[in-house]
């Protein structure tokens, strides 16, 4: 069963207009060896590679983009997701436990040691977490334990404009969409500065 979810993506004015005219760029997930070696041109986000959006919260996207520019815009878009294909760190205890067990396995610690040379969990972006999620997804697919993974979702702790960074409580829910064909339609909202 699929559900339509509304997401808000904060970006620059120029980029927002490009998106409205041409759609989102193709979502590209780098080869896993490139990720592991830190050779991908783009750094992974906290939930791995994908198109990021905040669920049902344009204000959160506004505060996010206001960190970078005063000419930001918010693109609203809908995604059609079957939760069978979402790695869900919001309310699937099974997903969380399996990932945690996988991560804690002693035999992977050498791998993670290498990964830590390439990525760090910074305040602004947990690249190391994102790289680990990419490896985890590859293992899930390779062992044929899941059909596919269209998105990863989690409570977000992203740093926002005009907010203290000390809070450990989540601010909302964030999705990383991994497949363009999940995206249904888009509208654009102009951000009011300071909104």
């Amino acid at each position: 069963m699929s559900t339509m979810i509304t997401l808000y993506h904060g970006t620059t004015n120029t980029r927002a207009h490009e998106i409205i005219q041409n759609g989102f760029d193709e979502i590209r997930i780098p080869r896993i060896d490139q990720v592991m070696l830190g050779k991908s041109k783009r750094r992974p986000g906290s939930l791995g590679y994908g198109l990021y959006g905040f669920q049902d919260d344009a204000g959160l996207a506004t505060k996010f983009i206001n960190k970078f520019t005063q000419n930001g815009m918010i693109v609203q878009f809908q995604v059609c997701l079957g939760f069978a294909c979402v790695l869900n760190f919001v309310d699937s205890l099974t997903d969380m436990q399996l990932f945690s067990q996988w991560q804690a396995d002693d035999r992977r610690q050498r791998l993670f040691k290498g990964l830590k040379q390439q990525y760090q969990n910074k305040v602004s972006q947990a690249e190391l977490d994102g790289a680990m999620i990419e490896i985890y997804i590859v293992e899930l697919l390779r062992h044929r334990l899941v059909e596919r993974i269209d998105a990863v979702c989690s409570a977000t702790h992203t740093v926002l404009a005009n907010q203290p960074n000390s809070q450990r409580l989540p601010k909302g829910i964030e999705y990383a969409i991994r497949s363009n064909n999940r995206i249904q339609r888009m509208t654009i909202q102009i951000v009011k500065h300071g909104g």
């Binding site: 080869r31 896993i32 070696l37 069978a84 067990q101 050498r110 791998l111 290498g114 390779r142």
Partner: protein, 53 residues
């Protein structure tokens, strides 16, 4: 997420490294410059994978 096998089987299959896993990871670890023993280095190319959509 929907798993294609019972959860206990998923956990078992995810947990251990297969020989193939071990080879692939050791090769990549070598690229990180981490110390490996001689046997670890006897790995062929071609184990990288893609998750392109």
């Amino acid at each position: 997420m929907k798993y294609l096998k019972p959860i206990d089987e998923v956990a078992k299959e995810l947990a251990p490294f297969t020989d193939e896993d071990q080879e692939r990871y050791l090769k990549l670890l070598a690229a990180f410059g981490l110390p490996l023993n001689e046997a670890d280095l006897k790995v062929d190319d071609g184990h990288s994978q893609s998750v392109e959509n």
